[in-house]
């Protein structure tokens, strides 16, 4: 099991549906992570910025992503490989 807290930029492909954003693919370095399930979304304020946290999983790992609404930057903040 590997459980890490990180703060690394990632490229994320998303689907827009109404006012909802759904990540479907995450590219972290050379790793491509295909999202199978969006488990939980929550939001918070970080300084001036509103951020959303997406807890997503694939068949073999879990990731938590942070989307900064101001600069639209995605970061990988948690990775869990059982």
């Amino acid at each position: 099991m590997q459980h890490q807290y990180l703060d690394e930029p990632v490229d994320v492909t998303v689907l827009f549906s109404g006012r909802r954003v759904r990540p479907i693919k995450v590219i972290w370095g050379r790793t491509v992570f295909v999202v199978d399930k969006l488990n939980l979304v929550h939001s918070a304020r970080e300084g001036l910025d509103k951020v959303f946290f997406f807890s997503v999983s694939s068949r073999d790992s879990f990731m938590q992503l942070r989307l900064n609404c101001k600069n639209l930057e995605w970061r990988l903040i948690e990775s869990f490989v059982p």
Partner: protein, 439 residues
């Protein structure tokens, strides 16, 4: 306070709250023993750098405690408030997850919103529990109450996730509703009609009753009272003699009689307070005063947020010996500023601090009077006067506070602080106060 006033009360309680929310977010934690550490993610070494939590636990987590254990961890003997090292000893497979208050605060907001949109009145009892008056919303009968409870449970599942389950109890008062929700876990729905109260309560254990803790249970045990049934046989005068006013609560609890009024937090509060147990004991007057000021600023912000001012101020100090002292004072002119709250509170605390001083140097205290916990609260609340103050200095103060309140509303408590309180750091707690900003 009756079992037959006609009201219908619902109690909603999340099952292993923080652990369930984490299992909802991360499906690989489901079915596994996990423990949520009391120290939040800000306590990870190096902040949000690359940190491995499990396998190689950061040193700080070895001094943390478990705030919530998953059902699987509980089966292995892991309990709430158990030291992390102790929990890992009895359950080596335990996965430690640093608490994430932002996540939990948002789920709490979601379930309270569901209750407010479905019920007559709502009283938040804790981060993961609430009471609701559903007398009108249910149509006044227990079939309507059952259907409403089922609808609420489905809405919670839709908005908070299928893993973060709730247990719901419905009864004629808060005591019975809470007993009912706790009687079937997880994911239970238990409805107790007024006719069924007596039999239901007799089937519960003393420890099931909210308000009977281990110490009281042991005192009752010494009297030969080991169950609700035996408690019911004790005459009221005996309970009053032994437990004073609390004897009345015990007498009524054994008969399923409890309060049916709710303190709706949307209504004006009767008092507002804030207390904090420090990570180390404070043994310096200046430290105590600046921490009191920091707490008072939080109380004052909550006062102004609700458009209130206070006419009575109370302070509470717990010394390192665990004994405590409290005092209160009524004031003529209503207060809504943290600085003024501190002045009144400090004038009560200072003589106490100095009364046992061994070292008479300014700012020094004896160890007997080192402060472990400090609290300040306000009561006798009135509506804040919206008229412009007559004096220029009062106008300036009010305008400054209103500007600061806009900052607090947007970014939450603690988003600004006075220079003199810079040395006070209230650490994030899993169920803490850091995330009270407006979304």
């Amino acid at each position: 306070m009756t079992a037959t006033s006609g009201k219908i009360i619902l109690h909603l309680d999340f099952n292993t709250y923080f652990a369930s929310v984490e299992q909802q977010a991360n499906p690989f934690l489901r079915g596994k023993p996990i423990g949520i550490a009391g120290k939040g993610r800000e306590n990870l070494q190096g902040g949000f750098g690359r940190v491995t939590v499990n396998g190689l636990n950061p040193e700080r987590f070895k001094r943390s405690v478990i705030t919530t254990a998953s059902r699987q961890a509980k089966r292995s003997g892991v309990k709430t408030a158990m030291a992390t090292w102790e929990a890992l000893k009895i359950c080596p497979d335990l996965i430690i997850i640093p608490g994430d208050p932002r996540k939990y605060a948002q789920i709490t907001k979601r379930f309270l919103q569901i209750l407010r949109s479905n019920c007559d009145e709502v009283e938040q009892f804790s981060t993961d529990e609430a009471f609701a008056n559903i007398t009108t919303a249910s149509g006044g009968d227990y079939l309507g109450a059952t259907l409403l409870a089922e609808r609420i449970r489905n809405q919670v599942r839709d908005d908070c996730g299928e893993v973060a389950t709730v247990s719901i109890g419905v009864g004629p008062n808060k005591l019975v509703a809470k007993l009912a929700s706790e009687s079937v876990k997880p994911n239970g729905l238990t409805v107790i009609t007024p006719e069924a109260v007596e039999e239901f309560v007799l089937g519960r254990s003393l420890a099931d009753v909210c308000g009977i803790g281990p110490r009281l249970e042991s005192r009752l045990g010494a009297m030969g009272v080991t169950s609700i049934a035996t408690l019911k046989k004790v005459a009221l005068p005996i309970l009053l003699r032994e437990f004073k006013q609390y004897g009345l609560f015990l007498y009524q609890a054994s008969r399923g009689i409890g309060p049916d009024y709710l303190e709706d937090d949307q209504a004006d509060p009767l008092s507002i307070g804030q207390s904090y147990t420090f990570p180390y004991n404070l043994s310096n007057e200046l430290e105590v005063k600046t921490n009191l000021l920091a707490l008072a600023d939080r109380v004052a912000w909550r006062l102004r947020k609700q458009g209130l001012a206070a006419k009575k101020i109370s302070v509470f100090v717990r010394w390192d010996s665990f004994s405590g002292w409290s005092g209160s004072r009524a004031i003529k002119d209503p207060i809504y500023d943290g600085r003024e709250l501190t002045d009144v509170g400090w004038s009560m605390i200072l003589p106490r601090l100095r009364s046992g001083t061994i070292n008479t140097k300014p700012g020094a205290m004896s160890f007997e009077l080192a402060v472990r916990q400090l609290g300040i609260s306000v009561s006798d609340l009135i509506q804040l006067d919206t008229a412009e103050p007559l004096l220029k200095k009062d106008q300036k103060k009010k305008n400054t506070l209103l500007a600061l309140d806009k900052v607090s509303a947007k970014f939450g408590t603690g988003s600004w602080q006075r220079l003199s309180t810079l040395c006070t750091v209230f650490k994030e707690r899993v169920s803490g106060w850091h995330y009270d900003h407006e979304d």
